[in-house]
């Protein structure tokens, strides 16, 4: 793997920060990622069962006014997909693989990926955002709750890290 093509973290951070700043000054809101799954699911549920969706406490607010997918954050994630793709292609990193330590089997890694994903989907709904929407955007706008959220992310990570170390190191 071509580790050299990773940017210097500080430079990458500055570019990321500038993208975030651009989002603030252009769109008046930060960046986010978990809005995408929420709105996609809301949209899908709206197709299958509009009544349930409209009455749902979690999704009702997305389907109330217009298409849940016609949203800045949703389009932004599509941009992320495009940008990420371009980044991977230009760095020669586009490669089908499962990232894992040599200490775990692929099946185990994927099981944990699913488990972690479910936990994060639940957590992002509960916390009204994920690392992008709460920690990064909220952190940059100095929102009190977001800083608490960010601290707890690190706390949660460090608390469990030891138990799943086989996956990674």
């Amino acid at each position: 793997m071509n580790t050299r093509s990773y940017w210097n973290p500080y430079l990458a951070g500055v570019l990321l920060g500038l993208a975030l700043l651009a989002a603030f000054v252009v769109a008046g809101q930060g960046l986010g990622a978990s809005a995408f799954p929420k709105r996609v699911i809301a949209g899908a549920c709206d197709v299958f069962s509009p009544e349930w969706t409209a009455g749902s406490a979690a999704f009702g607010k997305y389907v109330g006014s217009g298409n849940p997918l016609a949203n800045w954050l949703v389009v932004e994630v599509i941009g992320v997909l495009i940008g990420g793709f371009l980044g991977a292609v230009s760095a020669g990193r586009l490669k089908g693989e499962v990232v894992r330590s040599s200490n775990v089997t692929q099946g185990r890694r994927l099981f944990f990926a699913l488990l972690g994903g479910v936990i994060m989907g639940f957590a992002a709904s509960l916390g009204r955002g994920c690392t992008s929407g709460q920690a990064l955007s909220g952190g940059a706008s100095l929102a009190g709750g977001s800083w608490a959220f960010m601290m707890m992310v690190f706390a949660g990570g460090y608390a469990v890290a030891w138990f799943v170390r086989k996956q990674w190191i």
């Binding site: 973290p9 951070g13 920060g17 769109a27 960046l31 994630v77 940008g83 693989e97 990232v99 690392t131």
Partner: protein, 397 residues
């Protein structure tokens, strides 16, 4: 053209154009994430084993950059901060959600945002993570409808926009500068920690291949720029900083001018009585509210006049929504009763004061609903009906 940021909430670009910006900014975001190495689960997970602090470094550099930029721009008046959406605070769900997200993060190796980036760089595990996220979202939606406890947890908290500058009582720019300086210190520490941890893990024979970044040539340069940025923010912005627009600004209004505005039927005027009891203000269309629970139907741009028993402190209204302009009745209900509902009896000496008093007393009578009685007049003499033809031109419409 007023080019003050943010643009989209001001209708600049229109809807289509706005979505186009989302695509562009998102692409830059995704590109930067990928190039920082966030498409690789192992590299992210390394943060939690302290041998590669890229996540910390990138994230805090980004936060500091955006934060310093945002507060500096708003400090010099280029950004209208009250149009920028800032995450409201729901402390309990945020604390728990954050913790769980951290758990999910280390279990899966990716967070939702980085999972998207990882996915498009071909990583199969990212696809599985995303499937999990979608399931998790659905699970939560079911849970929210089915479990009252979860709903109670989710909806607990005020949902107010509490910013650190507001909570700590210092200006945003200074805080940004402070955070930047702290981050700088933290980065230096992080460099040290990761070197030591990496060495230790290597010694223990851990498999770090493919995740460890060894190249850190630009770090001093980057730190230097951040320091410069933070200094800029700390010195320039506070000098130019205006009153923090996030603060709920309540100006005062005196009873008589308020009475005149009621008479003028000012369309944006909305008057709310914050007292628990009492219907003695005699203001037409007066609404009731409690200081802790603002009415749900307040409209942006409305002029909301709040009446308490006595003077009301603007600080008491911390939980009121942004959008309307708040005014508090100076002296509260007491002043209203004294100055508007009580006729003037004091002696007046000059013509001007006399004229004012006349108006004031009529306003008083009107609010009190005491119609000035017409003075009864002596009946005029009885008259004889006139003779002659009566001409009455008619017609038309």
């Amino acid at each position: 053209m007023d080019l003050t940021f943010p643009w989209l909430p001001r209708g600049f670009f229109g809807e289509q154009g706005g979505l186009l910006t989302a695509l562009l900014i998102g692409a830059v975001f995704g590109f930067a994430l990928e190039r920082a190495g966030f498409g690789n689960g192992r590299k992210l997970a390394a943060q939690f084993y302290l041998y590669d602090m890229t996540v910390f470094k990138v994230m805090f550099t980004a936060i500091v950059t955006a934060m310093v930029g945002l507060y500096a721009l708003s400090g010099v008046g280029l950004v209208q901060l009250d149009l920028v959406w800032i995450n409201p605070t729901y402390l309990a769900p945020q604390l728990l959600g954050g913790f769980l997200l951290g758990v999910g993060f280390i279990v899966s190796g990716l967070c939702p945002g980085t999972a998207f980036v990882s996915l498009v760089s071909g990583k199969l595990d990212a696809l599985v993570v995303l499937v999990g996220v979608f399931l998790g979202v659905l699970l939560f939606a079911f849970g929210l409808d089915g479990l009252p406890a979860l709903e109670a947890l989710y909806t607990s908290g005020s949902g107010e926009v509490l910013t650190l500058p507001g909570l700590l009582g210092i200006s945003g720019s200074w805080l940004a500068a402070g955070v930047a300086l702290m981050a700088l210190g933290a980065f230096i520490g992080a460099e040290k920690v990761e070197e030591r941890m990496a060495a230790r893990l290597k010694k223990n024979g851990a498999d770090l291949d493919g995740s460890r970044v060894t190249d850190s040539r630009g770090k001093y340069w980057a730190m230097g720029s951040l320091l410069a940025l933070s200094l800029l923010a700390a010195t320039a912005a506070p000098m130019l900083e205006q009153e923090n627009p996030r603060q709920l600004v309540a100006s005062g209004v005196r009873p008589l001018p308020l009475a005149e505005r009621i008479i003028a039927h000012e369309p944006a005027l909305r008057i709310l009585d914050l007292r628990e009891a009492g219907t003695d203000l005699r203001i037409p269309g007066l609404g009731k509210a409690s200081p802790t629970s603002p009415p749900a139907d307040l409209l942006p741009g409305q002029h909301v006049v709040l009446i308490a028993e006595g003077d009301l402190d603007a600080k008491d209204l911390a939980g009121w929504p942004q959008g309307p302009e708040y005014e508090v009745l100076e002296g509260g209900a007491q002043a209203w009763k004294e100055q508007v509902l009580t006729p003037l009896e004091a002696e007046v000496y000059n013509q001007e004061a006399l004229d004012r008093a006349k108006v004031q007393n009529e306003i008083c009578a009107w609010f009190n609903g005491t119609e000035s009685k017409a003075v009864s007049a002596p009946p005029p003499p009885v008259i004889q009906p006139a003779v002659g033809s009566r001409k009455k031109p008619k017609g038309g419409c």
